[in-house]
Amino acid sequence: MTTLTEQLPAPAPAAGSARPVRRRRLVPYWLLLPGILWLLVFFAAPLVYQASTSVQTGSLEDGFRVTWHFATYWDALNQYYPQFLRSVGYAAIATVLCLGLGYPLAYLIAFRAGRWRHLLMILVIAPFFTSFLIRTLAWKTILSDGGPVVRTMDRLHILGLTDALGVTEGHRLLATPLAVVCGLTYNFLPFMILPLYTSLERIDGRLHEAASDLYARPLTIFRKVTLPLSMPGVVAGTLLTFIPAAGDYINAELLGSPDQKMIGNVIQSQFLRVLDYPTAAALSFILMAAILAMVTVYIRRSGTEELV
């Protein structure tokens, strides 16, 4: 804050009193106020409330009381670690798939699309015009047993192959890991493409020319210039995909079976069906802490702070 106030131009001494000077010094704080209030009310307060819930004991009938019962964390982790691992695994696979699909697409739009660029970007964002839930429900119909996708894939013996690999079961797509991971990939793909596109589009085309002029072949240009310069987009895109995918429960709920339950589904049912609020809150905190830890390691290792 001090640097911000120092950068303001020195007030004219002719102003007379000291009051306008003080008022001007306070301007940055006033501008911050709405944001701080918002964070306090909608982020900090619920967080504190959830934290206190997680260390309560009791039942719905007798009421919950804070007893600093930290064992809830241990019990929750012990009981639900398969779902935790599955969430991280599904989210990681979906993120890799998003990157694999999104990078070429973003590259194409940024460098090769010419006047189609804007139209293509609109197409990328277009799914947002309908709700996440409705789109996922639509996939439930598309992938349904006996539907055209399943029939075609069966006829081409693809389902036999995926069954053998263990990602589908019983010649169907619904209620399989494949469907859940595909659903996650589909739903979070735009969150990968948008930051990728933004960072690719910012790359000065003359750098490609310079690299080419300095004996770099097209593939080398990509490896040595384009990819390193797009790393901020890769990092932002993977985070924007991985974090919500790890906490998602809609895809597992609609496209999966109990065998594909992710941690989001557990939290949701603990909160809304089992009504075991402390366990639900503890699971939420574990998820948050795990994601925070993974993201920190990831950002450290990718070394993006040097790039931006």
């Binding site: 020319e209 002029d213 300095l214 040595k224 390193p228």
Partner: protein
Amino acid sequence: MTATAPSTGVRLSGISKRYGTFTAVHPLDLSVPAGSFFALLGASGCGKTTTLRMIAGLENPSTGTVELDGTDVTALPPHKRPVNTVFQSYALFPHLDVYENIAFGLRRRGLKSVRKQVEDMLELVQLGDLARRKPQQLSGGQQQRVAVARALINHPQVLLLDEPLGALDLKLRRQMQLELKRIQTEVGITFIHVTHDQEEAMAMADTVAVMNDGRIEQLGAPADLYEQPRTTFVANFLGTSNLITAEVLDASGDELALRAADTKLTLPAKRCTGTARVGEKLLIGIRPEKITLTPAEDAGTVPEGRNRVTGRITESSFTGVSTQYLIDSPVAPGLAVYQQNIERDSRLAPGAEVVLHWNPGHGFGLDAAQRIEAGTDVDLGEGPS
């Protein structure tokens, strides 16, 4: 390839570039001797950068061929041409430090140990202590030197410079001109330098090609272009010229006799482009610094054999080394005259009647069919051309 000395560094034959219906470069032939410092000079949009990019391979010519040292490289992509470019905005890799920027070309060609060469190059451009800085932490002049080093380290057959000094302020620019010239003399590589700055082109290059509207107007040593321009564009674009429309009275001898508004003038026939015919018009050009001013009352002291024109001073401005006058004369309005400030005559002030006189051999004759003001109103903007 050994027969002719000096050998040809770059030969362009019938090369042109069209974008749809717009012709950026009309078919042109050009050969640049190996080891020379060659400048392509022109206003923005004249096709000079496009020509350079075709040599680099960054642009495919619509017609014609590019030869480097006798080898046709027209079909080769940029990374296979033994040519390197210093880009207008430098195009340094922002994610690599100075050292890695300079080493980039060597590494791409698979050299294992680049340290010695990179360090030598850092030495040459005096950037040794900045090797681990990122480009954005450098000043404009330092970035420019990195760009030159990054290209030169590959020992290209030809170094292409696309307005490399355009982003620098005037003082640094003059300094970098000398430095580039020094480097070129030191390494002996052919330099092709694109610029819109005529002083820069004349100061640095052995040969200057003046481009206008996608064509080369004139090519030659800087002094030859300046002393004997062949078109009004070159006369006006390269320095300042006074152009006087005159009618040919006699074209029989070595001296042409001409008349401009009842004033008799002469011009050596060999300093005239094209053939002069009696009764036809031509333009007499004379550089402002070649004219001497004498107050009208001293007209008798003007030596015989010089061209004389009367006029009245309308403006004078003192610039230190010289005083620049604008003079309205019956032969032409707004004649420019630069007088060196050796002994200043206080009578030479606005309103004074004067005689302008010059050695006829200093004049040059141009075809009167051209636009007389060509080259005076060009856009010198630094946008891509």
